[in-house]
Structure formats: structure tokens, C-alpha cells
Symmetry: C2
Subunit: 317 residues, 2 copies
């Protein structure tokens, strides 16, 4: 009888927990036909809705709106010009109708124009004091404890763990070590092109021009995983149509693979917006019925927050 401590103590016993334990057991046992050598043990995690709360809005959107408000005094024309006017007014109905061009314009003015180091400081300062309206706690405390346990369990089993987010790579990197124990090179995300320049003293600096280089969502995820890592991951975790292609790419590889989707079905402890709920689709990805059907057809694991998670946040006892 094993006396090893449970690596996933915040998980209820069930199919999802069993699938994770079984996958790690067989891929790390050299006598198992599904053994994977350590060099190839790669796992990828979506962030928004998979590692932390994404409702009622993405954390990075809260950041962008605050940046917009901070910059507004220098731009009086924003008060009468879209998409700035609606964004500054916090008009979420108008926001939901913004085009990709509108959003890119808002990203440009709030995320570009400074050095890479300057942006890192802006994000780190903001996220230190910003709070989620429902829990009145820092966003960085609204991380799912069960998923932190999976990340830690995979790492201690020789897996390299990467965050693969539709959010901004530089944004996430600014807090990823503190929150996820992830180094900058372990965060793959949407990216502006950096631009090499010299400052007035002749020192090399990288600027952030308003030019999107990687849009790391949907098909962008497998494309960027290939760019950064060169092959499909062995395990992938997501929660929406923005992760669908990442999971399909994961499954396209041979040997043992683990695909899992977090289903938000707990409107008491968090939110419910999956299939069957009073659904709140987002512009960027949702757990649609179509995705649910694909998950079932392809043998992906669906993680029910309500049934599979004993507790959701680290601060809960």
C-alpha cells in the first residue's frame, strides 16, 4: 500500500483526477510502453479560465481600461472618438461589439510605445494593487488551486510546463514567476514585435511598437507551440474554443497524450458559463456545445469545477 502523499489533494476522486494520475504514472514509468523520455515531457496550460478567473472580464482588459483612464487626460479627443469613448465609459455592451481593429487600436495605445522593461514595471505595479470586483482580492489570488497542483505534479514528474495564453506574453510574464513559478521562457502568448534601438547613451534597448507579431489564440496556439517548442505537447489543458486547436495538435502526436478542458459549471463558488448554463459567450472563446461534443468524441477529459474540485482558490480552507 502506497504511503506517498496525494499529489492532487484539492481534487475529488473521479474520472478527471484518475486520468491525470494515470497519464503521469504511465509516461514516467520506464517499463511502461507509454513511457516518455524526460526531454519530451512537455505540458501546456491556457491561462484565462484554465488557471485563473476570466469572468466577468479578462484581467488584462481591466488593465487596459485602467491604462486608458490614466492616459485619457493627455488625449481629450478620446472623449468623443470611438472606440475610446465607449471604453472609457466602461460601456460593456458597446465593448462586446468592438471589431478586431478596435481592439488592436486599444492594445496599441495601452500596451505599446515604451521599452520592454518599462511595460513590465507598469504591469507589475498595476497587478500589485488591482482587485477583482467580486472577491475584492488581487487577481493573482484568483488562481485555481487544483490547477497549481497539476502544474506542480507535472514538474516534479520531470515535465516542462508552459503557459500558452491568448493574453499578452509580456503581460503574463510580469507576474508569472511569482504566481505560477513559471520563468519568462515558459510563457508563450500574444506578442507585439519588439524593436531593437539604442538609447541616448548608446545602450541597447527594446521598444514596443504598436505592431502585433503573434496572435496566440485558436490556430495560433499550435502554430506558436511549434515555433517555440518544435513539437506537440504531451499534455494540454484549456477551457474554450480558443484552446481547441491546441488540444487537437496535442492529440495529433503519437503515444500517450492527455487533453483536458476545464468546465465552468459552478455558479456558487465561481461561475457557470459552459454548455447547459445561462451561457455568457465571450468574443474570444467559449466552452460551446460543439466543443463539448468534440471533447466527448475525441476522448478528451472534461474537468467539472463543481464535481472535480474540492476547493477552488488557495485562500479557501
Amino acid at each position: 500500500m502506497s504511503t506517498a502523499p496525494d499529489p492532487l489533494p484539492s481534487w475529488n476522486d473521479g474520472a478527471a483526477k484518475a486520468a491525470i494520475l494515470d497519464f503521469v504514472r504511465k509516461t514516467t514509468d520506464a517499463t511502461n510502453p507509454d513511457f516518455v523520455r524526460e526531454e519530451d515531457r512537455i505540458a501546456t496550460f491556457d491561462q484565462d479560465g484554465t488557471l485563473w478567473v476570466e469572468h466577468p472580464f479578462y484581467t488584462q482588459l481591466a488593465f487596459a481600461l485602467q491604462r486608458l483612464a490614466d492616459l485619457a487626460p493627455q488625449h481629450p479627443e478620446w472623449q468623443t472618438t470611438e472606440p475610446y469613448k465607449s471604453a472609457l465609459a466602461g460601456d460593456m455592451a458597446a465593448f462586446a461589439k468592438f471589431t478586431m481593429d478596435d481592439l488592436e487600436e486599444l492594445v496599441a495605445v495601452t500596451h505599446a510605445g515604451m521599452t520592454t522593461g518599462g511595460f513590465e514595471t507598469i504591469v507589475a505595479d498595476w497587478i500589485e494593487q488591482a482587485k477583482h470586483p467580486r472577491w475584492d482580492r488581487p487577481y493573482t489570488e484568483l488562481i485555481y488551486q487544483p490547477m497549481l497542483e497539476v502544474m506542480q505534479y507535472l514538474r516534479s514528474s520531470g515535465y516542462k510546463v508552459f503557459i500558452v495564453t491568448g493574453g499578452g506574453q509580456a503581460f503574463v510574464r510580469a507576474y508569472a514567476e511569482r504566481v505560477y513559478k513559471s520563468q519568462p521562457e515558459e510563457v508563450i502568448g500574444s506578442s507585439l514585435a519588439a524593436q531593437f534601438e539604442y538609447d541616448s547613451s548608446g545602450k541597447a534597448v527594446l521598444m514596443r511598437p504598436p505592431k502585433l507579431l503573434l496572435y496566440n489564440d485558436s490556430s495560433g496556439k499550435p502554430q506558436d507551440i511549434y515555433l517555440f517548442l518544435g513539437r506537440p505537447p504531451r499534455a494540454a489543458f484549456g477551457n474554450s474554443t480558443g484552446d481547441q486547436q491546441m488540444l487537437e495538435y496535442t492529440q495529433s502526436g503519437s503515444g500517450a497524450r492527455l487533453m483536458a478542458l476545464v468546465l465552468h459549471d459552478d455558479d456558487q463558488r465561481e461561475y457557470a458559463y459552459g454548455p447547459g448554463s445561462a451561457q455568457t459567450d465571450t468574443k474570444f472563446g467559449a466552452f460551446t456545445q460543439t466543443l463539448y461534443d468534440e471533447a466527448k468524441a475525441r476522448g478528451w477529459n472534461v474537468i467539472s469545477m463543481k464535481d472535480d474540485w474540492k476547493r477552488i482558490f488557495t485562500f479557501e480552507r
Copy 2:
């Protein structure tokens, strides 16, 4: 008196060897003010001319010309159309005058149009049998043994080692593990955009369209190091103007940093094409007098192949 074996046995005693040993010693000694925690120990190496022979032509060019010859029977029009005609004829004088558009066209037809896995097989098959005209040995044996020792020494000292090459990322990844013990995620290079698609059975595949995403040379190197790794390396090794900005970016960080350039000054055992030699400039980067002057002014280490290296290739005894 220390009895530890010399980690750099193929190096002669001298300033370059001493600088490498000193850098590693002080950045890994927790009592030293220049100590660097293990998470931040990152070193980057250029490939062509820094890790292996780049004369009289880049290995990848030999690959491209062979691919062109293999594909030529299906393209009779190439016999009369530039840049194909000169490239197929191996006309190096014409080749030296090709524009970037010409080169991109040649890359497109020889490096694109297949799946990512298909390209990997093509490269692996080619490099297994192709030989360098001077030594009549596989290109993968023309690796500099002293640099392999530096890579190994850094790794065993807790450094993460990355290849940062102007060459094709997918090309280098096809042999990087066998030759450099580098995993795919440890190779950053010029890249085509991958394109996510489904094959006829509905399985996810990545195709290689003829579309350049990253040109990883000169300013592209620090830009892509930031994209992949999120901060400047602690140590960087190069050999040409294509590495200048990578070294400047390395030096822009605080604390101990090691910048080094390999100088090709040994026309007996390899080639001599640095400043003061009968110089053979390449289109893509050269060790110019200007770069030499910058190295001296900024305190970069210049590694003389002739004076600093006891032996050059692993097969030499």
C-alpha cells in the same frame, strides 16, 4: 590545490579561457557579488562560424542548392529564369549578387510547401549523407570541439544554453539534439510561419507556407531572444556583425555578463577571414574591423582560433 578536471581541455591557457572560467566561477558562487540565481543563467550561441564551419558557404545553402537540383526536373522553367538558373549552375559570383527577394524566393521553393514533420525528415536525410568539400566529412562533424566544451561547461554549471542562429530554426532543430544535445525549444532561428490545417482524415497538421515570420539575424537576434526568453542572456557567443546586436543586448543587462566573438584567423586548420586577413566577406555577416574595434572598446572577448584553441574538431587527436 584543485584536482577538478579542466572543463575546457581543448583550450590553450590565455585571456579567453580565463574569462570564461572566471565568469562561470563568479556567477555560480553564492558568496560572490556577481552571483546569478540558476533561473536566470541563460547563455546564447550563434551557430554558423561560432559552433561549426561556415566556409566556403553556409551548410544550409548547400542544402538549398541540393533541394533545388532535386526539384528542378519538375520545373523546366528554372533553367532559363533567375535566380534559379544561376543557383542551379552553382554560380557563386551571381549568388553573391542576389537580392533579399531572390533569396527569399529560393528559400520559399526549397523550404516550404510541406508539413513541418515532412521538412524535418528531408533535412535529417540530407544532413546524414552530405559532406563538406574540404574535409570530405559530414557537416555535423565540423563542429568546434572547444565550443562544445563551453556549452557543456555552462550546462553543468546550471546554465540554460540556447542556439540563436540566423539559419533556419526548423533546419537546425532537425539535428540539434544529436549534434549539440540541444532540444527543439533550445533553438531560436529564422522561421517560416507555420499554418494549422487538417489532413484528409481530420487530423491536425502544421504546414510550411512560403512566408517568413522571423528573420533572426542582427537586430532580429535580441528581438527574438526577448520573444522567446524574455530577458537578455548572461553570456553570448558569436562571430560576426550578425551577432553584434545580440552581444550589445547581453551587455545592456546589469551584473556580470560575458560577451565573446570567435575570430577566424587560422587558415591552416580552418579559415582566416577576420580583420587583417584576406577577408572573405559574406552577405550576412562578417568579422569586420569595425566590429573588432567595438569588441575592444566594449571589453568583449575575442577568441582566436589560432591561439586559443588547442584543437578545432572532435575528430582531431
